[in-house]
Amino acid sequence: MTGGEPWIANIPLADRATFRCENGACRCEGDWTLDGIEDFDPRELSSSSSASEFTLDGAGIQTIDTTGALQLLNVIADLERAGCTVRWVNLREEHQALLELVKERLAAAGTATAPQPPNRLEQLGRRVAFQTIRTIEFLAFIGEAAASLARLAVHPQRFRWRALFSDIETAGVNALPIVALLAFMMGIVIAYQGGQQLQAYGANIFIVELVALTMLRELAPLITAIIVAGRTGSAYTAQIGTMQITEEVDALRTIGIRPMDLLVLPKLLALIIALPLLTVFADALSVFGGMVMAQALLAVSFGDFLDRFPQVVTPTSFLLGVGKAPVFAAIIALVGCYQGFQVRGGADSVGRQTTVSVVQSIFLVIAADALFSVVLGGVGLWR
């Protein structure tokens, strides 16, 4: 119990709940309340007597609440288990009623059986089964999205254009500043790290190849996809997940709108349109970052850089980089939406699925990028 301040002057401080015992007769004293029993030690009583009959005097009880009643009942139960008979005297009627109420409610509730934690083998099995089912469900989700797209091709007038444009704005236009900043810094870093090596061989002008090819083919699409996965993929999961909890998704179904048509397709198409454009933007900014660094560090002027640029960068290099972006976009949008629909229960589930969504989409984007490198290298498209 805290004390001292004037404001609680009208709330009485709790007196410690205690027993005062003399050969088999005990007086209960003080406040048998949550505050009063904080320091209560049931051993006070049991150690003080070895009599087989016990009298509890309730006259000294000032106030009592359910917690204090529980404490008293526990003490009595302990005594009875030790073979004593317990008798109350001078117990006030309302205190008696409260003790009865607590006793009755506890009896009505019964005893809980502690849940058995499953053994390790069972846990492993459950995990494997769970992940397998999730994978199959995700494939089914992709299939459903494709079917939805096909329906859209037949009835294009049903498409939600307004949702598409607003999604393009939030996922694309609003991401421009952060993509610009990060791409520019990436260009600077690559030019700086590579430039020092090139300088040692006097091969300064090759900075153009280094920056242009690394950025256009690999880093710009990848960094953009990662930013968008963290920014937009997570937002998709959180939005759909919250709608799932508040039963908005079910409401859509009842009205006869497929959640796939309203919630997934516009997001998917918006990202497929926005991510390549963002990638081109990131290409430009990262090459600009490289140019700035090349001039500062390697004395390669903007003019020299831009003269050499078209000679070393074939349109194929540029297109292959940008061409990866729609695939990354589809991965991010589908994973984000799918994880949103997996939300069950409450707020903690939204957080969990959002984390899963970002981790999975970044993982799949990098895996897909690796696959692109192997396959395109295999067919000889790199140069």
Binding site: I11, L34, I64, D65, A112, A347
Partner: protein, 264 residues
């Protein structure tokens, strides 16, 4: 404090309250008092500011003007530490339960106890089980997550959490909304029983006419941004104010009154 034979004094005193969201004025010059040990209901049409008033009293919302006293303590401009200790004195049952979804029912009930007392974990679990039982739930419910409970059980679990600290003052926001008539009746009985055995003061927002007749001592009617009627149910229904007449004189209002007259 429970079962305190203290004189009937005011637990809540609201005076000259004004609350405003932007340009919308919710309350204007509102007065409202609750005495120790009574069950008071706040009623009024939708949007009359019942829940807003409740939120202002439980320190979730700062009113624009006026004064609110809780246990004799002014809560406008109260310090953070004083507010913390004051929150120890009341429990709140939110409309949707507001149980923490990542915790089991027992952990939900134990949370205020862990925050506000120095009791051992074993004793806290024991007390939590008692509150779950008091709210009328079977003991097994303690191990369940909120999403595994039905609507009625969720309300009871939320009640168990609001009773965790044995508060002297209990706030209920639509306690019987969404419950079947049997559960709602049992809930009313439970609240009355708790009030009688613990000396609780209860303030509830409700639209449930049966609850109003069966469980309340006084009913405050909110309208025109203030309390326009504040009396026991029997008197309030005879009030002349057109808003109150409209509220209670519908077919539902009359049915509930006849029901309660028969019951007496």
């Amino acid at each position: 404090m429970a079962l305190n034979p203290a004189p009937a004094d005011a637990v809540i005193v609201v005076h000259g309250l004004q609350t405003r969201f932007g340009a919308t004025i919710i309350h204007e010059n509102l007065d409202f008092t609750v005495q120790r040990g009574e069950i008071v209901a706040l009623v009024g049409g939708s949007g009359s500011g019942k829940t807003t008033l409740l939120r202002a009293i439980i320190l979730l919302l700062e009113p624009t003007a006026g004064s609110i006293q809780l246990f004799g303590q002014e809560i406008i401009g109260i310090s953070e530490s004083a507010a913390f200790r004051l929150r120890r004195r009341f429990g709140m049952l939110f409309q949707q339960g507001a149980l923490f979804s990542s915790l089991t029912v027992r952990e939900n009930v134990a949370m205020p106890l862990r925050e506000h007392t120095r009791l051992s974990i074993r004793r806290i679990a024991e007390i939590a089980d008692l509150k779950i039982a008091l709210a009328g739930l079977p003991a097994d419910a303690g191990n369940k997550l909120p999403r595994e409970l039905s609507g009625g059980m969720l309300k009871r679990a939320a009640l168990a959490r609001s009773l965790a600290l044995d508060p002297a003052l209990l706030f209920l926001d639509e306690p019987t909304a969404g419950l079947d008539p049997v559960s709602a009746g049992a809930f009313d009985e439970l609240v009355v029983q708790l009030k009688e055995s613990l000396g609780l003061t209860v303030v509830m927002v409700t639209h449930d006419l049966d609850t109003l007749w069966q469980a309340t001592d006084r009913v405050a009617f909110l309208g025109e941004r203030r309390v326009i009627g504040y009396a026991p149910m029997r008197e309030l229904t005879r009030a002349q104010h057109p808003l109150i007449q409209a509220y209670f004189e519908g077919p539902r209002g009359r049915a509930a009154r006849e029901q309660s007259c028969k019951a007496r």
